[in-house]
Amino acid sequence: MSGPWCTFTAGGAVPLADVPDLPLDALRSAVVAAVGTGARLGCWCGDGAGRVVAIMVDDANHRLLAARAVLPERYPSLTPECAQAHLFERELAEQYGTVPEGHPWFKPVRYHHRLTPGPDAWGRPSDQPILPAVTDMFTVVGDEVHEVAVGPVHAGVIEPGHFRFQCHGEHVFHLEIHLGYQHRGIERAALGGPHPRSLLHMETAAGDSSIAHGWAYCQAVEALAGLTVAPPALALRALMLEFERLANHTGDLGALAGDVGFLPTASFNGRIRGDFLNLSAAVCGSRLGRGMLLPGGVRFAIDDERRDGLRRKLDAAGADAVHSGELLFATSSVQARFEGVGVVRGEDAESAGLVGVARRACGVARDARRDHPPGGYDGLIGLPAIASSGDVQARAAVRFAELRESLRLTRELLGRVPAEAPPRAPTPVLRPDHLAVGLIEGWRGPVLHLAMTGADGRFSRYKVVDPSFHNWFGLMLALRDEQISDFPLCNKSFNLSYCGFDL
């Protein structure tokens, strides 16, 4: 299926000269054809120099495909033929002003001025501030139809976003989500990098996925610089990534329990999640894994004594988490509330391009740890956990199965990590005019970082694609024909990142 594409692997770099520069029509056809054979659109973004770059993630063949095309200011939208492109095309329009004609849902994404000078795709003046969520909202009219607006500030300790429900009584016809409130300019700041703050920005792209984003960044930089990382250091990165997964899956199962009023698991998991976060702190001093990673390696090591301590705490927290999860899934009142709620049909998940937990809950076995191994896990990764019903129950079940699998992985990985801090890699020198992709399976799903260098060996474009970018649309689908009172439950079953989307 390589067709007109340049093929490479995650964590690899290719010279830009090898990335085919196709006519736009040919690129569109190639994307549609690749999606037809089971690849997914990993990225469709501007390169800042008048071209669009397409990255296809071909999980079945363990490879990535890249191609590009010159993009005119207006072009026929790809979305009608390839729904996965819908948000990428909106983002491209917002960042570079190109208009995809015939896009069925053409609205801004993050509500900011474009990255390059020129006219705004929606005709908004460049000298006036852009207000978030000011756009045409989808509305339903008719007797007794009403609209519920929620946010940006939410009722708990939650990131900001605006949700607009079209309802008839409790019944939700449609949910529209507008984000952008957390936008803080991460991609723009990366231009001309790597800068001293670049790693900090990636670690904080989504703060609950610091290791996933930090590792994806390191992977891209290492590929561009031709650095190799020693296997023990990779195993330590993998260990930290699994700690991140354990903490968040535990927290999510607890939050789901809380949303259906099942307090035992809600209470236990709130505490156990902290126990897992403390494991990360025991390795690197930060509960979120900050400061752990560096391009070329890791900052910390785990000697025998620390390993024994970690193993003890891991066994204790793991046993409690499994026990608490088993209680959740053995409780019929919980199951009655999880089953059949927030269903995303498999074909919708596929056409919308959902990824990660939400996709595996629709029966598709994709996991970047297996499909695009980043190193560190060699020989450890089996078949991904899947469920088929696409509902809250399925997303919860996938999380619990992954939690158990992570416990197994961490025990294995603890035997592979370095006992002494590896020597510090030199400051990476990036090859000019190259393209590289980092791809790491975080706890929500695959985190993709696309980095391109210019002739000076600095970032000419840096693109971050958090799994939430693909999956917010899934939440909108899940709410159709649901009760509005089930929104918190559906929302928690996805638990998507606002900041990872907003960047």
């Binding site: 939650i158 409130y181 790693l199 209470s267 900050r290 053995a330």
Partner: protein, 257 residues
């Protein structure tokens, strides 16, 4: 009925004894830094050059000082210092009432946050309701703000709760640098909280913009938009750091001598 009750016995009681007992801190925690300026050679700026967030500056005497309002508590300065003049300690108590008190210098006493003035303390000392607003950060501070609500920390036992409306709140707890896209919402939330009220800025972003300081997409922290009564530094702060700050504010922890 029985299955959910028996696990309660097994999972046990985990609420920690804070503030009477300090929770165990990880040995690698990067808490309050200390500087031994006597070790600094004249004119040396290695630490400041290593700092990605420009948290290190120099006094008139040429001695380094660290602004914890900007510091993201990464190990870069400590690793860079050839004289080992800087180190992080396991001291988690970091909150201050004034922005300038966040400056760590050799020989200076670090002034922790004070309790509310008496007439406000009378109102809120036993019941403080906070509206949490997340405004342009990474959701990391929110993780540790949220953790305080779990049973391990049980914020409610101190009479402190997060509430779902600014009208029910006595103050605002703000995370994030205040993105331009959240500026209006932050102002409206603040205006909707009845007087007397307070603002608590949690994390480097909310204090100074953190790693995003200088970006046109953000305002540079809470104080650019509303008056701030308590600064809790960190990236993110440890839950104990946040709770310590809150409890000092309501007089639940004896003031620093």
């Amino acid at each position: 009925m029985i299955p959910p009750i028996l696990p309660r016995l097994r999972q046990g009681h985990h609420t920690n004894g804070f503030p009477e007992q300090a929770p165990p801190m990880p040995d690698r925690l990067r808490g309050r830094p200390v500087i031994d300026a006597a070790l600094c050679p004249a004119g040396c700026t290695v630490c400041a050059k290593a700092c990605a967030v420009e948290a290190i500056s120099f006094s008139a005497a040429g001695k380094p000082r660290i602004d914890l309002g900007k510091c993201v508590f990464c190990p870069a300065c400590v690793e860079a210092c050839p004289e080992k003049a800087l180190r992080f300690t396991d001291e988690f108590r970091l909150s201050t009432g004034r922005r300038e008190d966040l400056m760590v210098e050799d020989g200076k006493v670090y002034a922790l946050g004070q309790r509310l003035r008496d007439e406000v303390l009378r109102l809120y000392g036993r019941s403080l309701k906070l509206r949490v607003v997340s405004a342009g950060g990474c959701n990391g501070c929110e993780v540790d703000v949220n953790v305080l609500g779990t049973l391990a920390w049980d914020l409610g036992r101190f009479g402190i709760n997060y509430v779902a409306s600014p009208r029910h709140a006595d103050g605002m707890l703000l995370c994030g640098p205040v993105s331009k896209n959240m500026e209006l919402a932050v102002r409206k939330t603040w205006d909707a909280i009845p007087e007397p009220k307070m603002c608590i800025a949690v994390g480097a972003c909310a204090i100074s913009g953190g790693p995003y300081a200088g970006h046109a997409e953000q305002c540079g922290g809470a104080a650019a938009v509303v008056p701030v009564d308590l600064f809790i530094p960190g990236c993110p702060p440890h839950p104990a750091t946040i709770l310590d700050g809150l409890l000092r504010l309501i007089g639940r922890i004896a003031p620093q001598p």
